[in-house]
């Protein structure tokens, strides 16, 4: 049979002969290989190779410490492939094989990259003191970073974002609660259908609310990029917002972009708006409560942002869109019996941005009266979370506030947000029920009605399931709204005495554009 003989010599490489025979057997079984020999380069071994027809006359001289791989092959390709296989087998595994002993867990990024050399993303949720170093190492190793940690100095944030920018990487955070990259939820994210709307946001629960409402409207998100709460302040100057905007502008799967933040510093707002004007795609700018500068679509609430984005995507008017009507319990149709002096609203929130939106909507609805009547508390604020878990995870703190509000004769309505998604409480509605029941029972015993209004920020795909959570809440007499903004308007309507007409208003299909006359709609 016509064949070829190929050899490779590994200088100064000793392996035990048993190991060499094993590798030779492996190589000999490769297609197109008729014979293989792998031996140390002693005279005796060369003689063995020669007798096997594996040592051509022109073979290079070797020493006893050299290792010879020789193959007889049917073709050049087969010979080359066999030599490569032998070389790979000789170089051994990159890491020690996992023995019977427990695997050693990775304790550093370096360890983890040894296990997963092609990693492309790092999630950092260490104490803030150490987070800069972890994020820096990840960026230097070429990974995008989801930086959940807070208490990162702003100078570090600027340095990290500059580095990310130079490397073309995303630095999402610090204090970034949520993101959805390529359909994969990160941190506190909801299971939102994939689609063509790309979100960039400095607000975690804002991004969750907008993405969930987009899902509810039948559309989906291409990417949800959190940038951290300070990205649009003067010092950070929108670095990551602008980078994410450019990325989404260039992204083939994104048709409409939404930018979400608290109102930024004016100079930063101008930079962002300049980028928005240059963007070839429609951009909905949602600086909470900001009326816009007249040059781009400006949505003042998260609800507006979701509706605007879907309307832009579909090329339809916003008034054709409906957020839908969640099931409501009979009780919600009954006008509450408010006792004299029962004139206050107590908003008890776990989402900071949702609390901000509620304040905004209530102020618009109630005008001057809101100042003394409305208290909206973000229980996720640092002030309340020192030494205890976030209320999105642990309901105990908020439940205590609910019970206290029920005892307060001035409180007419308790307004709540219920946030679903990964890493939130596994059954947040059920966790609220005992406190709500308790508060309402005490109020009733004292001869007054207590209205509890809530919205659920979530999707049917979330681990907690939107419908199940809503059913639990209506089951204990909570008035449910399809969005946080609508919940705030509903709350305001109790004070303005319009709550009885609520069922008609509950259908978003025929209502005017939300946001522009929110106060009038329930108030007149």
């Amino acid at each position: 049979m016509a064949g070829i003989v190929r050899q490779r010599v590994f200088k100064n490489t000793y392996r035990d002969s048993v190991e060499l025979m094993r590798i030779a057997t492996e190589v000999e079984h490769l297609p197109g290989i008729t014979r293989a020999g792998i031996v140390m380069g002693t005279e005796a071994n060369r003689e063995v190779l020669a007798q096997a027809g594996l040592l051509p006359a022109e073979a290079a001289a070797t020493r006893a410490s050299d290792l010879i791989v020789a193959v007889a092959a049917e073709s050049e390709e087969a010979g080359t492939a066999a030599l490569e296989r032998a070389a790979a087998a000789l170089s051994g595994p990159a890491r020690p094989d996992r023995g019977a002993e427990a695997a050693v867990p990775a304790t550093t990024l370096h360890d983890a990259l040894a296990e997963m050399p092609d990693a492309n993303l790092a999630l950092v949720s260490t104490p803030g003191t150490y987070a800069t170093a972890e994020a820096l190492k990840a960026l230097k190793r070429g990974l995008h970073v989801f930086l959940f940690s807070d208490n990162v100095p702003v100078a570090d944030e600027v340095a990290l974002k500059d580095l990310a920018e130079r490397k073309g990487l995303l630095l999402m955070g610090p204090d970034c609660g949520t993101a959805i990259l390529d359909g994969v939820p990160l941190g506190f994210a909801n299971v939102v259908r994939r689609g063509q709307i790309g979100l960039v946001g400095a607000s975690g629960t804002g991004l969750q609310q907008v993405s969930c409402l987009i899902d509810r409207l039948g559309e989906g998100v291409s990417q949800v990029i959190g940038v951290g709460g300070r990205d649009l302040d003067e010092r950070v100057a929108g670095r990551m917002t602008l980078a994410a905007l450019r990325r989404l502008a260039a992204d083939g799967g994104t048709a409409v972009i939404v930018v979400i933040s608290k109102p930024p510093a004016p100079a930063v707002a101008e930079r962002v708006m300049a980028a928005v004007r240059e963007c070839p795609k429609p951009v909905v700018v949602n600086f909470l409560g900001w009326a816009g500068d007249g040059t781009a679509a400006s949505a003042s609430t998260f609800e507006d942002a979701a509706l605007d984005a879907v309307a832009r995507l579909r090329g339809v008017g916003r008034d054709t869109l409906a957020l839908g009507t969640p099931e409501r319990h009979e009780q919600s149709c009954v006008k509450p019996r408010l006792a004299p002096g029962q004139a206050e609203i107590r908003g008890l929130y776990c989402g900071g941005s949702l609390a901000g939106e509620a304040k905004l909507v209530l102020r618009r609805a109630l005008g001057d009266r809101s100042a003394e009547r409305v208290t909206v508390i973000d229980l996720g604020d640092d002030e309340y979370t020192v030494g205890r878990p976030h209320p999105m995870i642990d309901p105990r703190l908020r439940n205590q506030w609910i019970v206290d509000a029920g005892r307060d004769p001035k409180v007419a309505v308790i307004l709540l947000d219920v946030v679903l998604g990964y890493n939130a409480h596994p059954d947040p509605a059920a966790a609220l029920v005992p406190a709500i029941d308790h508060a309402r029972r005490e109020a009733r015993t004292a001869g007054r009605d207590l209205v509890v209004v809530a919205s659920v920020c979530g999707t049917p795909g979330d681990p907690q399931n939107l419908q199940r959570q809503q059913a639990t809440l209506t089951g204990c007499g909570v008035w449910l709204a399809p969005s946080n903004a609508e919940a705030a308007r509903l709350t305001a309507s109790v004070l303005t005495g319009a709550a009885g007409v609520m069922p008609e208003h509950s259908s978003g299909a025929s209502r005017p554009s939300p946001g522009d006359h929110a106060g009038n709609r329930h108030g007149v």
């Binding site: 051994g92 890491r95 997963m116 092609d118 492309n120 990840a138 230097k140």
Partner: protein, 483 residues
Amino acid sequence: MASNHVHHGSTILTDGIRAVNIGLAGFADPIRAHGGACTQVQWQPPAEGDRAVGLRLAYLEDDPDDRAGALVGRANAEAVRRISEGHPVAVDVRTAADVIPGMTSRTLLHAGPPILWERMCGPMRGAVIGAALLEGWAATPEEAGALAGRGAIDFAPCHEHATVGPMAGIVSPSMPVIVVENQASGNRAFSNLNEGIGKMLRYGAYDETVLERLRWFATTLGPVLGRALRSAPVDLRDLTARALQMGDECHNRNVAGTSLFIRAIAPALVRTAPADAAAVLEFMRGNDHFYLNFSMAACKATLDAAHGLEGSSVVTAMARNGVEFGIRVSGTGDAWFVAPASVPDGLYFPGYGAQDANPDIGDSAITETCGIGGFAMAAAPAIVRFIGGTPVDAVAFTRSMYRITLGRSPAYVVPSLGFVGTPTAIDVRRVVESSVVPVIDTGIAHRAPGIGQIGAGITSAPRGCFAAALHALGRRLGVEAAA
């Protein structure tokens, strides 16, 4: 026109999400549930919680786009290459003064980082006295001590003269030393000849039997071995590789290495020195550790070739003088970074205990620096019995060393770990970050001079040396201000 169909055209991470999760374990769940891969880091504060050190470490992380990060990455890759390709061959045995660079007629080399007579431990003082007697500088031990005390001896670390010595590591001008040539880079390294276990100079013994043996080294053993090696050099890369597959780790267990060496050199010995061959073979046969000094010089020759690479954070020497543990790093020049030496954890010969032990001493940790010794303990499970461990512990020691090393030796492999190369090229950054410190096999010397070895065991390098080295490297690369 509703666009309800699903779009998947949008990608940021083209190969799918492959995430490293540093912190809250729950963050891995959604990634895995949605088809991404996620590796969990059991995170601990780096650098034992020192934020500033942790940051300096981060700034020194590899990064092709950054001046310091690129330099460190490149220099370390070169260091790993040189260590991997190191090809030590024993070529000769010669008189120290004739071959060791910078050795004067009044030089005594010692183990570990620099130290003067005043601070030397008992065993090292004993060895100095013995060497002064051997050289004829003094007639009595008292005279020798006085000589050393008034500064008449030039002390220098072996390591600064391309030399390594076990325990006290005293090398005097007339002693025969092994000459090892690194054929990959041309540099040479030296070590004295191993005397055996018990009352020996390297443990600070200097009675007449000790000196008599050393005189025989100079008149017979050295010259005879030298002639044999000149006629038949011994490839130490090859020999060490074989010994590792025979249950040695080539630091504290050298039975296979010594046997292989005897096998390699015997024909040349008989050929070149027929009259003395039997006595020389007899001596080597009676000393299971004879190969240790060859192993050490081989490692030194390999590592010296990787020293002096600007920016490299690879450790090129770990050594102890019985008072301090010191390391040298490729990218920080001649500086030593030291911390107090600790007493090894080990087994003692009958009648001795930890109270008798001298703190860690000797240059033999050069083997661990090169990726054998304690780093190859999985290849030599018998060693772990010194601390009452099991073969599983031996494997665990070796496994943990992969966390602090950058390379896998292409020459030295561990059969029990699937023939993986031993962990080589210790990275100062990895040690500081992980708080995993190099593990070292070692003999234990009695704290009083002249008593000798009283046990053997396992010790570890103190963390402080590595933090100090990292600091110096950061300053040298100008990244300190960034932290």
